[in-house]
Amino acid sequence: MSLTEESLARAALRSRNLMLGAALTLIFAGAALISFLWVPYDITQLDIANKIKGPSGAHPLGTDHFGRDILSMIMVGARTSIAVALVAVGIGMGLGVPLGLAAAAKTGSLLDEVIMRGNDLVFAFPSLLIAIMITAVFGASALNAIIAIGIFNIPVFARLVRGAALSLWTRDYVLAARVSGKGAARISVEHILPNVTNLLIVQGTIQFSLGILAEAGLSYVGLGAQPPLPSWGRMLADSQTMISFAPHMALFPGLAILLTVLGLNLMGDGLRDLLDPRLRRGAR
């Protein structure tokens, strides 16, 4: 470990936000991973005799109206939430980053203008509204939810990368690369991209948490993952009519969403402070 890596690691350990956020995120990511191998109860098995039971030794978070174990449902639901949000971020980065790099490389060109105005347009629209429209038209499914959320991630990353890349293009090492005969595409990939990864990690974390919230909202209104695929939003929708006598059914899935999003946000904040040296010095 080099000296800077070591001090970075030490700073990371000292950052309370980062540690708490990473811990929360790991818990839910871990739960999702474990659910592939093992869950306390099979969630496809209905157990009507044990329906709507509060938390107990056998069912730590209680059971739902079909007698399914809520802990198991939350573990499997974590997969849906995380998968949808992760792929949506992937779409946003996969398309947004090249667009942003291209716009910055040819700043002021028609390409730049088209990309940025297109971005403004997508930004101006209420994303959830268009997501609802997309799922309404193409049918409600986890896949369409991913696409709907992903589309709105594209301008976020494009704009971020373009802004950062513009200032990098004025650096001496980019000039040196140009003098040595490298083309714009090669400079973008070899010199610009590595220098914006920090920003991408931070923004990726934030978009990830927004994606989880959006997915929960869409599946709550029935436009996200469809049964039998469990999802946190769907669980909350199911619990709504029973909230007066089975509040635990509403409490735990909601807490799962809250804690996951909180964890990701804290981690995002912590990473930003850590990876942006300017902020790190300012904080002390």
Binding site: S127, I130, M133, Y220, L236, I243
Partner: protein
């Protein structure tokens, strides 16, 4: 100033045209014939054709698009496939719930966020600051429909202060109507207030670090005077941006929150229309909401120019 406004006006028009094309195209790709849907399987080709004519479904893509947009410009939003009533009427009724709800939430959010953000910034690093930041961190992470459900559990089911859902109607008087909008407005406002308070705080902190604040302090102004007289106005630009963006979140968020509280607003209308495949309603409501959002953002852009004279020159 005029040039700036004109420039914004052009981009506003472009946004609306592109949005309408996208919305129209999306609905066009949906398979199925609304006329066949409305008349059932026993309809003859003749009656089907007559109805299609009446609904404006015959004709080229361009004609239909022009018909839709032209109609909307005249206030004619078409006829609902399922209810057979003019969409404009349906929207009109429900707008009187959704719009007050959004404004109520926006007012609440600003009323909470401004003092919280200013207070936190003026006492940076204090317990107040830490608490505001902690609470807002939670507020940003909480799904608002879940928060709404919890409020129903506490304030409607247990304490019985409010109804769990439904709308009293404006005929019942302002107060009962506002009362049925209170919990939904709080649910909508909480995440927005949290974001806004954080933006207010950080923007104010940035401004407080500027040279002109040091000058103001050197001139003999107290910290408080410098904040209220010089920093606040300068810190408002990012705050205004966020308020403008939040309007779109409020409109979209209202769709989900209206479903939690069974409020017969535009959001419920969109959902009922989606499940009934009544796409003409979906199309028109979405376009209307997009229009509202674009207009608000336009207003915000103009407000910048008022707050910050430099923008007028630069444009």
């Amino acid at each position: 100033m005029l040039r700036y406004a004109l420039k914004r006006l052009v981009s506003l028009a472009i946004s609306l045209v592109v949005a309408s094309v996208v919305i129209f195209a999306m609905v066009e790709v949906v398979p199925g014939d609304p006329a066949a849907y409305m008349l059932g399987i026993n309809a003859t080709e003749e009656t089907l054709n007559a109805l299609r004519d009446q609904l404006g479904l015959n004709g080229t893509l361009l004609e239909r698009y022009a018909g839709w947009v032209g109609g909307m410009l005249r206030g004619d939003f078409g006829t609902s496939y399922t209810y057979r009533t003019p969409v404009a009427e349906m929207i009109g009724e429900r707008l009187w719930i959704s719009l007050p709800l959004a404004l109520f939430a926006l007012t609440l959010s600003t009323a909470i966020a401004f003092p919280a953000g200013i207070w936190a910034a003026s006492k940076r690093g204090s317990l107040v600051d830490t608490s505001v930041m902690g609470v807002t961190q939670l507020g940003v992470a909480i799904p608002n429909f879940w928060f709404a459900m919890l409020m129903v559990l506490v304030f409607a089911i247990n304490l019985r202060w409010f109804n769990a859902g439904g709308f009293a109607g404006w005929d019942a008087g302002i107060l009962p109507a506002m009362k049925s909008l209170t919990l939904p407005a709080i649910a909508l406002a909480l995440p927005q207030a949290s974001i806004l308070a954080r933006v207010m705080r950080s923007s104010l902190l940035d401004t407080l670090g500027e040279d002109f604040i040091r000058t103001a302090r050197a001139k003999g102004l107290s910290k408080r005077q410098a904040l209220w007289r010089h920093a606040l106005r300068n810190a408002l630009i990012p705050v205004l941006t966020i308020i403008g963006l939040q309007f779109s979140f409020l409109m979209a968020g209202a769709i989900i929150i209206e479903n939690v509280f069974f409020l017969p607003g535009l959001g419920r209308l969109v959902f009922q229309s989606i499940s009934a495949r009544d796409l003409i309603v979906v199309e028109s409501v979405v376009m209307l909401l997009v229009f509202a959002v674009v207009m608000v953002n336009f207003a915000v852009d103009l407000a910048y120019a008022v707050v910050d004279p430099r923008l007028r020159v630069r444009a």
